[in-house]
């Protein structure tokens, strides 16, 4: 659990981060979203003490971070930045091994861990271990950056625009992968982005920042349903609220049982798809309902246009 209390950082006369208080629960992904210059990166960098707060308190699992030597603190926290920041003179395997080596792990344990992480990030160890960063594609470099951050199995991972340098198609794949990895590892993640879609897609909670202050901190549903500030509504896109709501619900969760009296629907969506995708499919096919299929491809229920519309209504 990460707790920020009244955290403020001045650069000269200007408060870049102004009296921010928020709590990130264990195993949650909190996304800090805001325009450039809103103070979101500075806020993130204060958690691992790359920037020291002017005032306020930051604690991790109840322990004040300022009481831990900065380099010791950072070895326990994963860190991923935009443009990956890989060491150009070291191989992929050496890059990933950075923190375990700093922690003095034995060599065979490091080697095992590196292979494990490469597999987790869908990079073949045989092919990639010995390569240098400049030999990789942008998406591969980004995944190596994530693997490096996870190397020592940190409870907390800080990510500063981790997908900023990727093109849109690779980015959405990387976002899905991150979600899956987090679900598997149960790490607490704080991610900074300027992309509201990314925030809604990834965040268990979202903090909207503007001019150093957090305008609202809450679940994506809260953001749309009860914006605390007109600026939040503007940032989340008031006109798209309904679609954002639909994007938050999985078709499998909204599925209703089949009605035996009617014939089964002719089109289907996978259970993992969002209601937003289901709506698009309904509009496209002109049908009134869709079958929802499980992982094995067998229908598990159905969604109707009426139920989709109900989910999109203002709460």
């Amino acid at each position: 659990m990460i707790r920020l209390e009244g955290v403020t950082r001045f650069y000269g006369e200007r408060a870049v981060v102004d009296d921010v208080s928020l709590v990130v629960e264990k195993g949650e992904m909190a996304v800090v979203v805001g325009r450039s210059g809103s103070g979101k990166s500075t806020l993130l960098r204060m958690i691992n003490r790359l920037v020291e707060p002017t005032s306020g308190l930051i604690s991790i699992d109840g322990r004040d971070v300022s009481t831990v030597p900065a380099h010791v603190l950072r070895r326990g926290i994963g860190y991923v930045i935009q443009g990956h920041g890989l060491f150009p003179h070291r191989t992929v395997a050496d890059n990933i091994a950075t923190v375990p080596r700093l922690l003095g792990w034995p060599r065979d344990r490091i080697a095992r861990r590196v292979s494990e992480l490469l597999e987790l990030l869908q990079l073949s160890p045989a092919r990639f271990s010995g390569q240098y960063p400049h030999q990789l594609s942008g998406g591969e470099q980004q995944r190596v950056g994530v693997a490096r951050a996870l190397a020592a199995g940190p409870d907390i991972v800080l990510m500063d625009e981790p997908f900023g340098a990727l093109d849109p198609i690779i980015r959405s794949k990387a976002q899905d992968d991150l979600k899956a990895i987090q679900a598997r590892l149960g790490a607490t993640i704080v991610l900074v982005t300027h992309d509201m879609d990314e925030a809604f897609r990834l965040g268990d909670r979202i903090a909207v920042m503007e001019a150093g202050r957090v305008l609202q901190y809450g679940t994506p549903r809260d953001m749309i349903a009860r914006p605390a500030d007109p600026r939040v509504a503007e940032l989340t896109g008031s006109g798209e609220g309904a679609l954002r709501l639909l994007a938050l619900v999985r078709a499998g969760d909204a599925a209703e049982p089949f009605d035996a009296s009617t014939p089964p629907p002719s089109h289907s969506v996978p259970a993992g798809a969002s209601l937003r995708e289901a709506l698009a499919s309904l509009l496209w096919t002109g049908e009134g309902e869709l079958a929802v299929t499980g992982d094995d491809g067998r229908p598990v229920g159905r969604v109707t246009l009426a139920s989709v519309l109900r989910h999109g209504r203002s709460p």
Binding site: R74, Y79, T98, V99, Y132, A149
Partner: protein, 406 residues
């Protein structure tokens, strides 16, 4: 290891592929044609050998046909014609290199042969030296060889091996007295022991001052990198030192070092004095400081900001960031600085002889005083050769370190 980004030896122009293919009118290699033309003009128009009655008398020029027996002249002419043909028409760098080396060997044999012919038996006053034509042909063939080497794009290790082979070949030529009849070697024979001493001292002056400059400049550069406020002042100060002419700097150091030696007589036991080796060494160190420090600062600064941020963010201490990220990435740039310094100091050390600092400059200034140009050559030629070797070695080292990450 990744293929080298560039393959330039000692800073000569890289082998630009000839643009001849597109020009039907002149289908030959342009550089090769130019070199062949210059070589031909040198062979026909300029004296091949100069013969003097004694070391300071004015010389008698002899053309190529005069200098050799009829058969010898014909053989050399045939060999050089083949080399010229290869230079103009063959594109394969290995063939061009082989032709250039064969030409050089033939020329060396011809010069050696001619020198024996012109030396009267038992005469120890006559001086025979290569004329402008022989020198120019040597230069043309050397250029052809360097160009071929550059086109070969050798790996750093192979370039060092090529240099070692060239040194071995020269050593064998001198060892078996190929050039003993030439005037430069006559001068050498009279001073063999002094030559060895001055050569050692020249190396100590240039190499030692370079080493001391690295010992001071590297930490200074790291300090400047860490404390930007220090940077501007330090680099400007060193820049000013760099602009002082070498003789002026030697002169400026005479007074303080002389005073120091007089106030603390112990120091003079270690060679500290107003003139001689000490001021020369100190001046060379001062000249070397700017390139070493400035390149250290530039090298450290070029580490990608994201990599340094990531290194800190993962929990490296300042020292670890320096040792594991910034310095390894800076090594090629620092080595380039050391190369500049070593080559510069090998040349500058010659001037040290003016204030009694010793080194190859001793022969240069003695020769100038006696108007004995062969003696000047005895000092100048090894200086140039030394600078060339240092440049090739450090260039190869810098490129080897650049290897994997780039």
């Amino acid at each position: 290891m990744a293929p080298p980004a560039k393959a330039v030896i000692g800073g000569q122009g890289a082998g630009r592929p000839s643009t001849a293919r597109g020009r039907a009118a002149w289908p030959a290699d342009r550089l090769g044609s130019l070199l062949a033309a210059v070589g031909f003009a040198a062979a026909v128009l300029l004296p091949f050998m100069i013969v003097k009655a004694n070391r300071i008398a004015s010389g008698q020029p002899h053309g190529l046909a005069d200098s050799l027996s009829r058969a010898g002249a014909a053989e050399l002419a045939a060999l050089l014609a083949v080399v010229a043909g290869v230079a103009m028409l063959v594109r394969a760098p290995t063939v061009r290199l082989a032709a250039a080396l064969a030409g050089l060997a033939g020329l060396a044999a011809a010069v050696s042969h001619a020198a024996s012919r012109f030396t009267p038996p038992g005469d120890s006053f006559a001086r025979v030296s290569p004329g402008a034509g022989a020198w120019l042909m040597t230069a043309v063939l050397a250029l052809l060889a360097t160009d071929a080497l550059a086109r070969l794009r050798l790996f750093p290790g192979a370039r060092v091996a090529a240099l070692a082979l060239a040194i071995a070949a020269c050593w064998l030529a001198f060892r078996f007295g190929l050039f003993d009849q030439l005037s430069v070697m006559r001068e050498y024979a009279n001073r063999a022991d002094v030559f060895a001493r001055e050569a050692r001292w020249h190396l100590v002056l240039a190499g030692g001052s370079c080493a001391v400059a690295v010992l001071i400049g590297l930490p200074l550069g790291i300090l400047c990198h860490r404390a930007p406020r220090l940077r501007a002042g330090t680099l400007q100060g060193l820049n000013i030192v760099q602009t002082i002419p070498s003789i002026a700097l030697f002169g400026m150091l005479m007074v303080p070092l002389g005073l120091l030696a007089r106030s603390f007589p112990v120091l003079s036991q270690f060679g500290v004095a107003g003139i001689g080796g000490a001021p020369a060494f100190v001046a060379l160190v001062l000249y070397a400081l700017l390139p070493v420090t400035a390149n250290t600062v530039a090298g450290l600064a070029q580490a990608p900001a994201a990599a340094v941020d990531a290194a800190r963010g993962m929990g490296m201490t300042d020292g670890q960031v320096l040792r594991e990220v910034e310095l390894p990435l800076a090594v090629p740039v620092i080595l380039t600085g050391i190369r500049i310094v070593l080559v510069q100091n090998i040349g500058l050390a010659t001037v040290a002889a003016l204030i009694g600092g010793g080194g190859f400059g001793t022969f240069v200034f003695q020769g100038l005083g006696q108007t004995a140009i062969d003696l000047v050559l005895l000092g100048a030629a090894p200086t140039v050769a030394l600078a060339f070797c240092a440049s090739v070695l450090l260039d190869a080292a810098a490129e080897a370190f650049e290897g994997p990450g780039s």
